[in-house]
C-alpha cells in the first residue's frame, strides 16, 4: 500500500502537469512538513504554538545565508537550518517550566514577532525588508536541483523522512510520554515522566523539521524576506493541523494540501475567494470539530500479541 503510494507519487512529474500545478504541489509539500512538525507539538503534546513560522523563518534564513556566503550543499544547509531552529525551539521550550496553556501560547506568539522584527531590522545580516536574493539552487553531491520535477522529488524525500521519523517517535516510549502529557500533566509526572524534558524535546524536534522546511523554501523560492514568516503564517500552519485533525499525521498532511490548494482553486472567484475560504473553514469546524481525520484511533501504538 505504502509502496504503491510512493511509486504513484514518483510518477507525478511525468504526468505533464503545468508548472503552475507543480508549484502548488511543491508548496503543499513544504506545508505538509510544517504541519507534521507542528502536529508533534500541538496535536500530540498539546502545546498550542502560535510561533511556528518563526522556526520556519529561522531555518530559511540560516540556510539561505550559508548558501549565499559559503555556497554549501543543500544537505548541509538544510541540516544547519534545522539545527539552528531546534536550538531556538529549545530556548522557547524552557519557559514551559513555569507556563502552561494559553500563557505559553502567548509566549510563542511573542517569539514569532521578535523573530520577524529581528529579521526586519538586522540590516547587515538579513538586509531587512529587502530580503535575501539570489539564493542558489540546492546542490546535493554536485547535482544541481533546478527543475520542478527535481524539486518535487526533493520535497517528497523530505516529507518521507519527516513522516518516518515523527511516526516512529510517536509510537515509542517518548511518544506516548508526550501524549500522556497532553492528556494529564499531573498524572504524567506522577508516572515518572520528566515534563520539562519532554516538552523541550517536543519543541526542539518540532522546530528542527520546521527549519528544514524553511531551508527548502529558501532554496526553492530563491528569495526570502521577513514577510514570508509572519504571525499569519503561523496561524495558517496551525489551521492545517486543526483542520486536518490534531494527533493524526495523515490528517494534518491532508489539511496542508487542502489549505494550500483550495484558495488556488477558488482563484476564479476573485475577491470572493477568501470569503468562501473562510466560510469553508467555519463550516468544517462546525460539522467536524475533530478535523478531517481527527480520530483518536490515529494514536494507535503497534501491538505485539
Amino acid at each position: 500500500m505504502i509502496i504503491l503510494f510512493i511509486s504513484f507519487m514518483t510518477l507525478i512529474p511525468f504526468l505533464g502537469f503545468s508548472p503552475y500545478i507543480m508549484r502548488i504541489m511543491i508548496l503543499s509539500g513544504i506545508y505538509i512538513i510544517l504541519a507534521l512538525s507542528l502536529n508533534l507539538l500541538t496535536g500530540f503534546t498539546g502545546i498550542v504554538c502560535l510561533g511556528h513560522a518563526a522556526f520556519y523563518g529561522i531555518g530559511a534564513y540560516t540556510s539561505a545565508l550559508l548558501a549565499i556566503h559559503f555556497d554549501l550543499s543543500f544537505v548541509f544547509t538544510a541540516i544547519a537550518g534545522g539545527v539552528v531552529a531546534a536550538f531556538f525551539g529549545l530556548l522557547l521550550g524552557l519557559p514551559t517550566l513555569r507556563l502552561n496553556g494559553t500563557y505559553l501560547s502567548m509566549v510563542t506568539l511573542g517569539f514569532c514577532e521578535i523573530v520577524r522584527l529581528v529579521g526586519l531590522n538586522w540590516m547587515s545580516l538579513t538586509r531587512g525588508p529587502m530580503g535575501l536574493t539570489g539564493i542558489p539552487f540546492p546542490k546535493i553531491l554536485g547535482w544541481v536541483i533546478d527543475r520542478d520535477a527535481e524539486y518535487f522529488y526533493l520535497v517528497l524525500i523530505l516529507i518521507i523522512m519527516t513522516w518516518v521519523i515523527l511516526n516512529n517517535l510517536i509510537q515509542s516510549r517518548a511518544g506516548i510520554a508526550l501524549i500522556a502529557i497532553r492528556e494529564d500533566e499531573v498524572a504524567a509526572e506522577a508516572m515518572g515522566i520528566n515534563i520539562l524534558k519532554y516538552k523541550v524535546l517536543a519543541f526542539a524536534i518540532s522546530a528542527f523539521f520546521a527549519g528544514i522546511a524553511g531551508s527548502f523554501y529558501a532554496h526553492y523560492a530563491s528569495f526570502i524576506n521577513p514577510q514570508s514568516f509572519t504571525f499569519d503564517e503561523s496561524i495558517q500552519i496551525l489551521s492545517m493541523v486543526i483542520l486536518g485533525g490534531m494527533g493524526s499525521n495523515l490528517g494534518v498532511a491532508l489539511g496542508a494540501i487542502v489549505l494550500v490548494s483550495v484558495p488556488e482553486m477558488l482563484r476564479g472567484l476573485q475577491e470572493y475567494r477568501m470569503l468562501i475560504y473562510g466560510a469553508v473553514l467555519v463550516i468544517m469546524m462546525l460539522t467536524r470539530p475533530q478535523g478531517i481525520l481527527g480520530n483518536p484511533k490515529a494514536l494507535k501504538i503497534p501491538r505485539n500479541n
Binding site: S172, R173, D184
Partner: protein, 253 residues
Amino acid sequence: MHKLQIQGLTKRFGGLTAVNNIDLHMDDNEIIGLIGPNGAGKTTLFNMITGMYIPTSGKLFYQGQDITGIKPYKITDIGIARTFQNIRLFLMMTVLENVLIGLHTRTNTNLFDAITKNKRYRNEEKTSHKRAIEILEMVGLKERKDEYSKNLSYGEQRKLEIARAMASNPGILLLDEPAAGMNDNETAELTRFIKTLKNFGLTVLLIEHDMRLVMNICERIYVFDHGSKIAEGSPKEIQKNQQVIEAYLGKGA
C-alpha cells in the same frame, strides 16, 4: 531501617497548617491505613510523599535515603507510585497504553533507538508489552486492553489506575481513596484485590473512608484530624480509641 520514615513533617498554606508535625513509618510488605475526617490532611501528606508539595519542615526517608523535596517524576523512579482521589487516567489512550506509561521509569530506549527502530528498541517494546499484559491480567483487565480508558466502568478505571501505578514496580504504593464511589460489591472485590497486592510483595499506604475496608485489610492505622496525628495502632486499638471516636462522632457521643 524502615521502608518509609516520616519525621516531623509539616505543611502550611499561608495561615493554614494542613499537616502538622507528623511522624509515621512503614515497613516492608505492610498495608497501612490513613484515616480521618475530610480536610484532615491525608491527601496533603500523600502529595508531600510523592513530591508534589514541598514540606514546610520535616524530613522524608525512603529506605534510608532522604527524599524530601525531590521532584515527583524522580520519586516515581526511586520507587513510590500513587493513584489519585479523583481518577486521573489518560482517557484518550487505551488501557494498555496507560499501563505502558506506568512502565516509563522502567524502560530506557532513547530517541535514536526509537527513530531507527533498532533491535534494542524492538526488544524493549516486546518485553514492556508483555509486562503490561501481565499487570493487566493481575487486575483482571486483560480482555479490555484495547479499550479507551474513558470507556471503562468506574470500578475498572480505579483498577486500571492501580495497575498503572503497579507498572512502575513501586516499593511503596499509595492509594488515595480507592473505594470512593464504589458500591458494596465493588468494594468487596477491591478489598480482595488489595489483599492480593500484599501477596505480590507490595507495600501499601492507603487513604480510605470505608471503615470496613480499612479495618479488614490494614495491619496498622494512622488517624488524622485537623492536620495532626491523633492515634495510631492496630484496627482493634483504633476502634476503641476515645479520641478517634470523638473526631468522627463529636464529643459526648
